[in-house]
């Protein structure tokens, strides 16, 4: 999942507006922000699968994306916001962990329970719906965006350009479509 993570961040912002938007958006993408340097450093491994969704195989992503490490990263990242109060800390921790929950739907059994674990999780929508996953994620983005816009209009404390926010997320999703993505 790509743009869906941003959409999740917006929905979480709408639910707990006092949580900083930047922290939530970094939180929901944190596992992938860690994944990149881990691959560059050789800690994690991927390889291409041209023509097969999503265009690559995530061979070993246990340090960024396993269940245990998702919880660890959630705890570590949210700890930076302890001064903001318990609700904000828990919300940011949930934002980080939401990445694992959403990837669990999409990934084809490459999410380990902990680094080195033999057991892996993933419902694999990417594999059994090679283009349908895109519509599934679009539906999720639509739901999150609608909730964000309704709450932004009601509360007026965020989402000053809410429609543009949602348009950017949808545009990111379009760019990541199976028909346009360079990974395919």
């Amino acid at each position: 999942m790509y743009a869906g993570h941003f959409a999740a961040g917006l929905a979480i912002k709408a639910r707990v507006p006092q949580a900083p938007t930047a922290a939530l958006l970094v939180g929901v993408t944190l596992l992938d922000l860690l994944f990149a340097p881990f691959v560059l450093l050789g800690i994690e491994r991927i390889h291409e699968t041209p023509g097969r969704a999503p265009g690559f195989s995530l061979d070993y992503i246990d340090w960024s994306h396993s269940l245990l490490m998702s919880l660890v990263w959630a705890a570590v990242f949210s700890a930076f916001f302890l001064k903001r109060g318990r609700l904000v800390v828990l919300t940011i921790a949930f934002a980080v962990f939401s990445h694992f929950l959403l990837d669990l739907l999409m990934h084809p059994g490459d999410l380990a329970l902990w680094p080195g674990s033999a057991a892996h999780l993933g419902f694999g929508i990417w594999l059994w719906q090679p283009s349908g996953w895109w519509w599934f994620e679009l539906g999720f983005i639509a739901l999150c965006s609608a909730y964000y816009l309704v709450r932004a209009r009601r509360l007026q404390s965020f989402g000053g350009r809410g429609l543009w926010v949602c348009a950017v997320v949808v545009a990111l999703h379009v760019v990541n479509s199976p028909w346009l993505s360079p990974a395919m």
Binding site: F6, L40, H47, E48, F158, G160, R161
Partner: protein, 34 residues
């Protein structure tokens, strides 16, 4: 695309939109505020 290039692309595609989304999310100034 090599795995390193894919990783870099992944990082950029997640990191770049964040400042824009944060900026767009700011509340509009109410009338009468500086």
């Amino acid at each position: 695309m090599t795995s390193n290039m894919f990783a870099l692309l992944c990082f950029v595609s997640f990191a770049l939109p964040i400042p824009l989304l944060v900026w767009l999310d700011r509340p509009r100034k109410k009338q009468g505020q500086g």
